[in-house]
């Protein structure tokens, strides 16, 4: 009996159209991203220079660089990430590996989901009330960093939960079967194998925190302070707020607009850089761990 392999199947139009649509939409996303970056480069590219990145602003923000907000942003975000990663990873580990899956577990999950839905300006207000006023730390790097770390918690908890529960249950059971306690299994197997995904999450969270504006407004960001912070209890300039200041408060738009676009370009550039680093790290660590 002949197999009729050469016989054409009826064309599946629905499938073809769907494939085309999905493809077109993903390409248009890429075009949109390229458009944004291209526009920033076009408007702000010419102010970019080594000097722009490494010197303070001069002449009431109409000249000079963005070094103080750049340094300030990196300070605050790094500190926020340290605190957020520690708390978020610990909470994620508890939820994914240790908590009895009962009422308390569901309550914490509900709280985390609720936290994720709170507008970031509310976090700013909370940081103002707690860190700036009640604890008396004033508008400072510490207050701002802690506020941002709260904002990053839901993302980091989710990320840690997914990283830990993504580790093969067979390996966890094998470890338990070897006579490892749950804690030993966590340190020796689960945490070790979750590291690539954890780090990816940290770096992506850092990228997100860098762009946050509302939570830093009342808690740390200075409008004009062309010096570098000497202690975590001092305020500092930060990139997103500096961008806002350049756009809204300049009297000489011809000079400040290009600087604003340059600042935005630096912000986007750092985020893209972090995303790339996350991808590379993840790939390398995965290879090293053979997972």
């Amino acid at each position: 009996m002949p197999l009729h392999l050469q016989k054409r199947l009826p064309k599946r139009w629905g499938e073809a159209i769907l494939t085309f649509l999905v493809g077109a939409i993903s390409w248009s996303m890429l075009v949109a991203l390229a458009g944004v970056v291209g526009f920033l480069v076009y408007r702000g590219g010419k102010v970019l220079s080594w000097e722009f990145l490494t010197t303070p602003m001069r002449e009431g923000m109409q000249a000079g660089g963005i070094a103080p907000p750049l340094v300030g942003s990196l300070w605050v975000v790094t500190l926020a990430l340290l605190v957020g990663a520690l708390l978020g990873t610990a909470t994620g580990a508890y939820l994914s590996e240790f908590s009895p899956k009962g009422r308390l577990h569901r309550l914490i999950e509900l709280l985390v989901n609720t936290l994720a839905g709170i507008p970031s300006v509310v976090y700013g207000l909370f940081g103002l009330a707690l860190f700036v006023v009640a604890l008396g730390w004033g508008a400072s790097i510490l207050s701002g960093a802690l506020t941002l770390s709260l904002l990053s918690l839901p993302i980091l908890i989710r990320n840690a939960q997914e990283a830990f529960s993504g580790v093969s249950p067979d390996l966890k059971l094998a470890s338990i079967g070897m006579g490892a306690s749950p804690a030993q299994t966590f340190w020796r197997i689960t945490l070790r194998l979750a590291i690539p995904r954890l780090i990816t999450g940290y770096v992506l969270a850092m990228g997100r925190l860098l762009g946050e504006t509302a939570p830093i407004l009342f808690t740390v960001a200075a409008y004009y302070l062309p010096t570098y912070p000497q202690s975590p209890l001092e305020p500092t300039m930060m990139l997103p707020y500096h961008l806002y200041a350049l756009i809204t408060s300049g009297t000489n738009v011809a000079r400040t607009y290009p600087m604003a676009f340059g600042t935005a370009l630096v912000l986007v550039g750092i985020t893209l850089l972090l995303t790339t680093i996350a991808a590379i790290l993840r790939f390398r660590l995965k290879k090293q761990l053979h997972v």
Partner: protein, 250 residues
């Protein structure tokens, strides 16, 4: 004294009863094969002996499970310490993504700091006992995942042996392996019997007949028949057993 004993053991998961009043006993240095259709309770029974069922929500047990005469579900027993005395090999090979050496050393490193010299010795011995030494002795630092499936399973056996357990549990250890690897592991079991007591779950009745001294047949949570393997397959006492081993269901 028997190496292991189950005395009227019944097990529930929530409201579902998985084992009904199971009693059996096994002497040391013997191999016990557990057979029966899927869902008959043989894996549940196997995992009673290292308390791996403890993690399943709703797990409840009545009756007694004894190893060397000691009730392992007594409140004073630490399940973690118990698992260090009872080795387990799973259906799928589960090497950790470490080096071959570190895999075998895993159980040893869980205990209080042993000198590296002793660990090296034990790793070597365990790999020899698991008949893997000649194949890996020159690449102990290589990742365990670079080994073939059969080698990985023997590595898992070596990993279990390194802590010198008093009992070894195997849950269908060859069902994911090719015939040659299976034959190697069966050969290995015959050797290991001299030093260890082994309980093995298998889907393969020929395997049970080839390797075990005693066979227990489970169905729907009941222990239908238990006896010396040679009598079990030549002269089964229970009609259900006859039906199963002649392949009429399962």
């Amino acid at each position: 004294m028997y190496k292991l004993q189950a005395q009227s053991v019944s097990v529930w998961y929530g409201t579902h009863q998985a084992l009904y009043d199971v009693s059996l006993a096994l002497e040391r240095n013997h191999i016990l094969a557990l057979i029966g259709p899927s869902g008959c309770g043989k894996s549940t029974f196997l995992r009673l002996f290292n308390r791996m069922n403890d993690f399943i929500p709703g797990f409840r047990l009545t009756g007694k499970v004894l190893i060397d005469g000691e009730d392992i579900y007594a409140p004073s027993v630490d399940a973690v310490l118990l698992r260090r005395r009872v080795g387990m090999v799973f259906q799928k090979p589960t090497p950790f993504p470490f080096s071959i050496y570190e895999n075998v050393a895993y159980g040893l490193r869980l205990q209080n700091r042993l000198p590296e010299k002793l660990i090296r010795e034990r790793v070597g011995q365990a790999l020899q006992q698991a008949a893997l030494w000649d194949e890996v002795k020159d690449k102990l630092k290589k990742p365990a995942l670079s080994l073939s499936g059969g080698q990985q399973q023997r590595l898992c056996i070596a990993r279990a042996l390194a802590v010198r357990p008093s009992l070894i549990l195997m849950d269908e250890p060859t069902s994911a392996l090719d015939p040659i690897s299976t034959a190697k592991i069966e050969e290995l079991l015959a050797d290991l019997k001299r030093a260890y007591t082994i309980v093995i779950v298998t889907h393969n009745m020929q395997q049970a007949a080839r390797i075990s001294d005693y066979t227990a047949f489970f169905k729907d949570g009941h222990l239908i028949e238990y006896g010396r393997t040679k009598d079990f397959f030549t002269n089964p006492q229970h009609p259900e057993t006859l039906r199963y081993i002649t392949g009429r269901f399962g």
